[in-house]
Amino acid sequence: MDELDATIHQPARLQIMAALCQLNTLRQVDFTFLKTKLNLTDGNLGAHLLTLEGKGYIAVEKTFVARRPKTFVSATAAGRRAFDAHAAALRAILKSK
């Protein structure tokens, strides 16, 4: 049976993982764009991304677009597996109610 993942369960990180896992595996989303979509602040999103990156759930790529620094984020295969397992565990809790 799948177990809950404490890292993913935090509400903001849950939102981030749900959004990133919705993207096609090859796609990456811009940090600023993600921040706007999730209604998070720079610091808040940055801190949560660091936690998720530390667990290997997301990949962060820093690059330059038109000489401006840009950060792109995507869910890793491990992150997708962990998120699916977490969602399955949540559904199992609801079923056992």
């Binding site: 749900a18 959004a19 949540l90």
Partner: protein, 185 residues
């Protein structure tokens, strides 16, 4: 880690809300702009050719070059928000197709016929669509196949209706654009 069923329900609803918001966002970053743009350009080119014959065809650069520039602008805009890492192998395949598409007519001799020349110019990008469809998203494969079949059948069997079939192909691209924007996954 233990949580109550109520908390689990809340988390699942948060997940669904986040997924739905991202789905809506992703829909704005698909290939529909290109399909609308080029569907419109093809239809305009074909209508000019149908009603003005060859003088109409001479206007094509005025449609094609702004079309190419707009395509690059869309590509740049979309790439700043959601992007796919550059697939060098796929770009290599596309470059090979484009280079050989210039080589083949030189080997075989240029076509003097405006219709077959136009059909060739459309079949090359449709070939790219089919390859891109096999590589990435199947809708590109199907639209490439449909437009190629439509264009070839009108060129070979109903040449009098050729320009109208191009208008239909442009309409098919525009329709696919709407499908991709609002209904695809």
């Amino acid at each position: 880690m233990n949580i109550s069923p109520e908390e689990a329900a809340r988390a699942l609803s948060d997940i669904e809300a986040s997924r739905a918001a991202m789905r809506t966002t992703i829909r704005g970053f698909r290939g529909h702009y290109y399909l609308w743009l080029w569907g419109g350009i093809w239809a305009a080119m074909a209508l000019r050719a149908e009603f003005h014959a060859l003088p109409g065809l001479r206007m094509n650069p005025w449609l094609i070059y702004p079309g190419i520039m707009t395509t690059f602008l869309i590509l740049l805009y979309q790439g700043t928000k959601i992007r796919s890492p550059v697939n060098k192998r796929f770009l290599g395949v596309l470059a090979t197709i484009v280079v050989f598409s210039f080589v083949w007519p030189m080997v075989l001799g240029h076509s003097a016929n405006a219709k077959s020349g136009f059909a060739y110019g459309v079949l090359v990008p449709m070939f790219c669509y089919i390859v891109a469809g096999i590589w990435f998203d199947m809708y590109l494969f199907w639209i490439g196949l449909l437009v190629s079949a439509l264009l070839l059948s009108s060129l070979l069997f109903f040449p009098a209706l050729f320009w109208w079939s191009v208008v239909l192909c442009g309409g098919a691209l525009i329709g696919t654009g709407f499908y991709v924007r609002y209904f695809w996954r």
